[in-house]
Symmetry: C2
Subunit: 332 residues, 2 copies
């Protein structure tokens, strides 16, 4: 039997190359070998976008277009919208009883994010609780494999703690533990050279960027700041142009040649960038085209999301029936 | 149009005279003038009984029998089980985003209960969040009137804060503010003279107590400890026997006579207790009988709960449709 995967994204913006490297690409592979659920996490997006629901609404559609464009196949993967599965909220409420406030406060990921976002004591209860909500996301479809970055290991641990506590408390084995699946490339630098590509940092190449926008972005990419003249030796490490080539060019020999040449000196940034643009365009061109097709047919995209959500709902119903029975709240 | 009431109980034990005085009696009155929803709060009971689901399960039935026995009429009131309305969990999750952790920590009722129950830092997230869950209970049926004790005023305030924040954030008027309805007698002393009648303190007279148990409990009631001989003057204030007469004997003149006689001296405790037993038996006899009838027909009781829950569900669907629409998560 195929193992079940849960994965997904918060719909707070269209997806970019960072998402492609970190997760989208592997989802296209994993959907063949796994039973894959891909969740558009609108409810979770509202935890820190509660006052901008229109942003979340619009990006549910954008993210769905991105998924379909990269080749997440709705006949192989189940793409669904989180808010259409209210049982996730129900599970979250039950799990809240199994986690102490003390434990929540010491979740390293949450602690760091509260600090980063400057929430302090004004952090909302919803944000504070989101690791519990994620445990509900994962367990509602009884997912066994969760593709995540290494920084999200605490989330896997919190989920498995809840799974064990639930099964022990209610003398059941309905919930299953999950394991993280850590992909090789999990983080892509921004075009400005900063560690992470992100919409907020305005350093992202989006999957839907038109060809001319892509060209402009590649042109203004950060490289080795000390590589002033073509004949100078250049630095390959930490140079995002080469990081992108490593991530996207299937011709690894060619990339090695370019790296050697660049290191020796005599290879100009503009030449490498021109080549990178070709590599990216070869990959993104067809994605952009498929994306435009889907974006021009919202009814079809929404039909796919509705069908996926119905399929997810059926799976979740089975879990909830067993959960309610274990908790003895199955009255009828 | 009749105003809507939400009221209810946590099913952690059968109901006693304290509940009768504090809420049950007024519900029988209020159901005539109001559209009354009576919730058996099994999910809330699980916040501090998560490891004893069998207690909650059993008492859902006991509490339903108590309701029906005292005259809460399922054709006039909507009696429903909280867990059968998963939309309450859904609303709770949305409201969590509108309340800061700081605000939650300073809820006086929660603070006091955490102290009383000795939870400290080990308080569960579920318990910490329950004021938000209560706001969901109230607003899911758009209740306007909430019968509560004065100590629960902070709960009404928290609910109205959420209502205002939600309506303001999502530019809507779907949620309505509520007001507390404070009944005259809100607390009945235990038969041991302690301030509160409670199952835990083992000082309660239950609605279903058999006649002989009732007689024994009245016999061992705490009175004036200095009233050693019949001819001594006795203390009426703080004497639970007289507090019960005030609460339950419709013949106020007779009660006044007894009080005067007791204060002067010459009236023995056993005589007053015998009279109190007559008063209580006159009231509880018919309740006990109806209760036994319902308890012997679980299928009928569960049918009533199922019908009530379906009726509540219809009402709640209307609220959720409007809530999801305001939050722009109404995709289909």
């Amino acid at each position: 039997m195929k193992k079940r995967i849960l994965t997904g994204d918060r719909p707070t913006g269209p997806l970019h190359l960072g998402h492609f490297v970190g997760s989208l690409r592997s989802r296209v592979e994993l959907q063949k070998s796994h039973e894959q659920f891909v969740m558009i996490a609108d409810v979770q997006a509202l935890t820190d976008h509660h006052d901008r629901p229109e942003v979340v609404r619009q990006n549910v559609f954008e993210v769905a277009c991105d998924y379909l464009a990269v080749g997440i196949d709705p006949t192989e993967s189940t793409i669904f919208i989180q808010s259409l599965i209210p049982e996730i909220a129900e599970l979250t409420i039950y799990y809240l009883n199994l986690v102490t406030m003390n434990r929540l406060k010491h979740n390293p990921t949450v602690k760091q994010e509260i600090k980063q976002k400057g929430f302090g004591d004004n952090v909302s209860a919803g944000f504070m609780m989101y690791p519990i909500s994620q445990a509900a996301d994962i367990t509602c479809v009884q997912a066994q494999v969760i593709p995540v970055g290494a920084d999200q290991k605490p989330m896997i641990e919190q989920t498995n703690e809840i799974v064990r506590k639930f099964n022990q408390t209610y003398k059941t084995d309905v919930l299953v533990e999950c394991e993280g699946y850590y992909s090789k490339f999990t983080r892509l630098p921004g075009i400005d050279g900063s560690a992470k590509m992100s919409k907020t940092l305005n350093n992202a190449i989006f999957l839907g960027d038109p060809a001319d926008v892509l060209a402009k972005k590649v042109k203004r990419m950060y490289t080795d700041p000390n590589h002033l003249r073509v004949e100078d030796p250049g630095q390959v490490e930490g140079n995002p142009v080469f990081t992108y080539l490593d991530a996207f060019d299937p011709d690894t020999e060619k990339v090695q040649e370019l790296k050697d040449h660049y290191s020796r000196g005599g290879l100009g940034d503009s030449v490498v960038k021109k080549y990178l643009l070709e590599v990216l365009e070869a990959m993104l061109g067809p994605i952009r085209e498929r994306r435009a097709q889907y974006a021009s047919d919202p009814a079809e995209v929404m039909r796919i999301l509705q069908q996926g959500s119905e399929r997810a709902s059926e799976r979740v119903q089975q879990t909830l029936d067993a959960v309610r029975s274990a908790m003895q709240i199955n009255y009828f």
